[in-house]
Symmetry: C2
Subunit: 454 residues, 2 copies
C-alpha cells in the first residue's frame, strides 16, 4: 500500500491553489443569476478531470449539466462510482461573512469559503487522491465520476435521468464523501439514510372568516378540526396510527442495535444542543434506534386564522398543515403516501373539506449491510487514517439521490466523509480544516487501493 | 300616545341636515391622526344635547371623552339611561367607497357615510325622538345619556370608570339602539349576549427549528403537541372538556327554547351565507340554542413552523394558538379563564414548555328575562311600528360594555335596533335607509312614552 502522507506534504500547496480555483466559482444552483457561474464551474471540472487523465464530458441534466468522467482500470478490477456535486448553497446573509464567500481565505488552519466543505472540499480531496494514485500507477479500479450541479435544489434534474444513464453508472462500489462525523475524535461511516415524503393539506370550513361570537358553537372550526386531524396521526406512545405505515419495516438486528448504541446516547449533550429532551417518537425504542431504524411522521408547520398580537374574534375559513415522513427500508414510499392520505381523508372533521395542496416522494431509504465488503474496507481505511474505531451511523436524514444511484448502478454504497459541525455548512463562514481535508485525502487513497485489491 | 309619524314628516329635512353634520366628523377612534376629530365630535354632541334641553357635559374617559347629559323628568317617573357611541370604524379600503365616507350622500333612500348606521344613525333617531317628545311636553321619564368615543376600540376607557359613575348612571331602564334584525320583514329585540374571554398560548420545544431528518422521531414536535393540546379541549360530541367550564350554566327554559326557535333555523340559508353546515359545537343542542344559551371555546388561529409553499424539513421550535371563549350567564369569566389555563397546563405535551402569551376577560354575559316589563313595552312599540311580532334574539356575540352598564346602573336592559345586513357596517359604503331611521325614531318615541307610563 502506498502511503499518501508524503505525497500530500509534497503537493499540498498545489492542491490548495487548485481547490481555491474551484471555490471561486459562485455556483449557487438556487439563484438564477448564478446560472452562468454554474456552467463555468462545470466546464472547469470537466477540464480538470481530463487533465488528471479521465475521459470527461458534460451530461445534459436539466438546467445545470452534470460532469461525467471515466478512467478504465485493470482488467478484472472492480468499478468505483464516485458521486459529488459542484453546486453550493446560497450565501445569505452575506453581511455575516467575515471574508467574501467566493474569495477563499486561509485562517488558523481552515479554508473559509462557500463550498469549502460541502461538497467542493470533500469532492476535491478524493480527486486529488485519485490523481496521486494515477501518477504513481497505483489506481487499479475503473473509476467513474458523476458530479452534479443541483444537489442543493434536490437533485431533481439527475434523478429523472438516472434510468437512461444505467450503462454509464454501472459499478461495484458507490463512493460518496458528502457526510461527516458527530465528533472530532473519531471518523464515521453512514450505515443508513431515511427516505422522505411530503404532504401539505388544507381543511376548508366557512367560505370566509366568520365572527366568532355570532357563529361560535355553530360553525365548524377548521383550526380545531386540523388539531384533531393532526392529533389522530399518533397514539399516546408516539407510534404512527396510519394503517399500513409500518408494513415491511424490519426490526434492527442485535448487532445493529449494539452498533447504533456506540457511543452511548448523551442526553445532557442532546438537551444542550437542541433545548429539548429526546422524548419525541416511539417510546418503545431508544433515541438512536428511533432515528436510525424507525420511520416517523412530523408536522413541519401549520397555519390558521389570526396568530398575531391582540384578539381577533374569528372562526377561521381554513387551516393548513405541512407533513413530512421519514421512511426506512422495507416501506414503499408511494404506498406510504397513499396510506397517509387515506388516513387524513378518513379523519376529515364534519362540515369541512380536505384539499391536498402538495405531495411528493423524494426518495427511498438506504441501509448498508454491516458485514458488506465495502464497509469493511472503508472501516479499515478510516481506522488507518484516524487510529480510532469508526462510528457506525444510522442517519435519520435523507440524501434521496443516493438510493437512486445505488439502484441504477447496482453498487454497494460506501458513505463516509470528514465534515464536522464546526464547518458551518449551509451557513455564513463555511470552512473546512486542512487537517480534515488531509484525512479525507488519506482515506480516499487508502480505500481506492483496498477496493482495487492493493 | 303621541303619534310621531306626522312630526317626522314635518321635521325630516332638519333631521337630515343635523344628522349629516354629525356624520361629517371623521371620529375614527382607532386612528391617532383623528383624535382631534373625535374631540370636535364630542363637543358638537354636547352642544346639541344642551340645545335640545339637556344638562350636558363631557366626562374624562381616557383618550376620548364621553358625553353625558341628563334631563329630569316627572316626579315618580322612571329613569331611562341611553347608551351610544360617537366613534366610528376606520374607512379602509377608502378607494372602495363610491362617495367619500365623511361626505354624507343620499341615494335611493339611503344615506351613505361611515357611521350612517353604526352608531351615529341609530343614536341620532333616538335623540330626535327625545327632542320631539320634549318639545311636545310628552317626555315623562328622567333621561340620562352616555355617549362614548371608544366603542370601536373595546370601550376600555369607560369600562374602567363605570364604578366611579354609579350615581350618574343609576336608572330603571338601559336603552341601547346598536343592534339590528336578521331579516327585513320583522324587527328584533336582543334577549341575550354572550361574554368573552381570550387566551393566547405558546408551546416551546427545541431552542431553534431542528432538521426533521436528523431529529425526526427523537425531538418532540411543538406543532403536533399543540394539535394534541387543542384536540383535548373538546370531546367527540363537541362538548368543552375543560373541568368546571359549564359550572353555573343554566339550561334554557321551554319558553326560551320555543322563542329561540322562532323563526325556525334555516339550514340552506346558513350554508349559503357561511359556506358550512352549522355542525360546530355541542350535538345535544340546536344551532340557535348553542349560540344563544351555551358557552363555547374556539381557536381563532394558530401558527407553527413553516406553512408556505414547498417543503421545509424542520421540526418547529414552537407553536402558538389563540383561543376565545364565549360565556353565558352563570359562568364566572375569571374562573373560566383559570379553568382553561389549568386544563392547558395539565395537557402540556412531554418535552415542551407552556407560555401564556396573552389573556383577558372582556365582560360578562347578559340575559334578559322574557317576562321583564321593559321587554314587554319594547315589544309592544316594535309591533306598533312594524305591524309584526318582533323576533327574540339570543345573540352569540358580545357587547361587553352592556353587562357593565347593566351592573352599575341597576337598570333593565332593552336592546333593540334597526340595523340590517345591507347596511355594511364596518365595511366600505356603510349606509342606513331613511325608512329604518324613521322606524327607529317611531320605536324610540313610542317606547319612551310607554316607559313613562304614557
Amino acid at each position: 500500500m502506498m502511503d499518501l502522507r508524503a505525497s500530500f506534504d509534497r503537493d499540498w500547496s498545489r492542491f490548495h491553489a487548485e481547490w481555491c480555483e474551484l471555490l471561486r466559482f459562485p455556483s449557487i444552483s438556487a439563484v438564477p443569476a448564478h446560472h452562468g457561474d454554474c456552467l463555468h464551474c462545470a466546464s472547469w471540472l470537466e477540464r480538470h478531470l481530463a487533465a488528471i487523465g479521465f475521459a470527461a464530458r458534460q451530461l445534459d441534466a436539466g438546467p445545470k449539466p452534470a460532469v461525467y468522467a471515466e478512467r478504465k482500470g485493470d482488467a478484472g478490477a472492480p468499478t468505483v462510482l464516485l458521486y459529488g456535486h459542484y453546486d453550493v448553497q446560497p450565501v445569505d446573509p452575506v453581511a455575516s461573512w467575515k471574508t467574501p464567500p467566493f474569495e477563499p481565505s486561509l485562517r488558523d488552519g481552515r479554508l473559509f469559503a462557500r463550498g469549502a466543505q460541502d461538497n467542493k472540499g470533500q469532492l476535491f480531496y478524493v480527486l486529488k487522491a485519485i490523481e496521486t494514485l494515477l501518477r504513481a500507477n497505483r489506481l487499479r479500479p475503473t473509476v467513474r465520476i458523476l458530479v452534479e450541479g443541483e444537489e442543493e435544489c434536490g437533485s431533481v434534474g439527475i434523478a429523472g435521468r438516472l434510468p437512461t444513464w444505467r450503462e454509464l453508472l454501472k459499478a461495484d462500489y458507490l463512493m460518496v464523501c458528502d457526510t461527516g462525523s458527530p465528533v472530532r475524535e473519531a471518523p464515521a461511516i453512514i450505515m443508513g439514510l431515511r427516505g422522505i415524503l411530503n404532504l401539505s393539506i388544507r381543511l376548508r370550513g366557512p367560505s370566509h372568516d366568520l365572527h366568532s361570537g355570532v357563529h361560535g358553537g355553530k360553525a365548524p372550526n377548521p383550526a380545531l378540526g386540523m388539531a384533531r386531524l393532526l392529533a389522530s396521526l399518533h397514539d399516546d406512545d408516539g407510534r404512527v396510527r396510519v394503517a399500513g405505515f409500518y408494513d415491511g419495516v424490519r426490526e434492527p438486528s442485535a448487532e445493529e442495535r449494539r452498533l447504533a448504541g456506540t457511543p452511548p446516547y448523551d442526553a445532557a449533550r442532546y438537551r444542550q444542543e437542541t433545548g429539548v429532551a429526546a422524548v419525541g417518537g416511539e417510546r418503545a425504542y431508544t433515541p438512536a434506534e428511533r432515528v436510525g431504524f424507525r420511520p416517523c411522521l412530523d408536522a413541519n408547520g401549520m397555519r390558521s386564522g389570526y396568530a398575531g398580537a391582540g384578539v381577533k374574534t374569528i372562526i377561521p375559513a381554513d387551516a393548513e398543515a405541512k407533513l413530512t415522513a421519514r421512511l426506512v427500508p422495507g416501506q414503499d414510499p408511494q404506498r406510504c403516501l397513499l396510506d397517509i392520505i387515506a388516513h387524513v381523508e378518513r379523519h376529515v372533521p364534519e362540515g369541512m373539506a380536505l384539499e391536498i395542496v402538495e405531495k411528493g416522494v423524494s426518495g427511498g431509504a438506504l441501509r448498508v449491510d454491516p458485514d458488506a465488503p465495502g464497509v469493511a474496507m472503508a472501516c479499515a481505511a478510516l481506522r488507518e487514517v484516524s487510529g480510532r474505531e469508526p462510528i457506525r451511523l444510522w442517519e435519520g436524514a435523507s440524501i434521496p439521490i443516493v438510493a437512486g444511484l445505488r439502484d441504477v448502478s447496482g453498487a454497494e454504497p460506501i458513505l463516509a466523509g470528514f465534515g464536522l459541525e464546526e464547518d458551518s455548512i449551509h451557513a455564513p463562514n463555511e470552512s473546512f480544516s486542512i487537517e480534515q481535508f488531509r484525512n479525507g485525502y488519506l482515506y480516499a487513497g487508502l480505500l481506492l487501493q483496498r477496493l482495487g485489491g492493493g
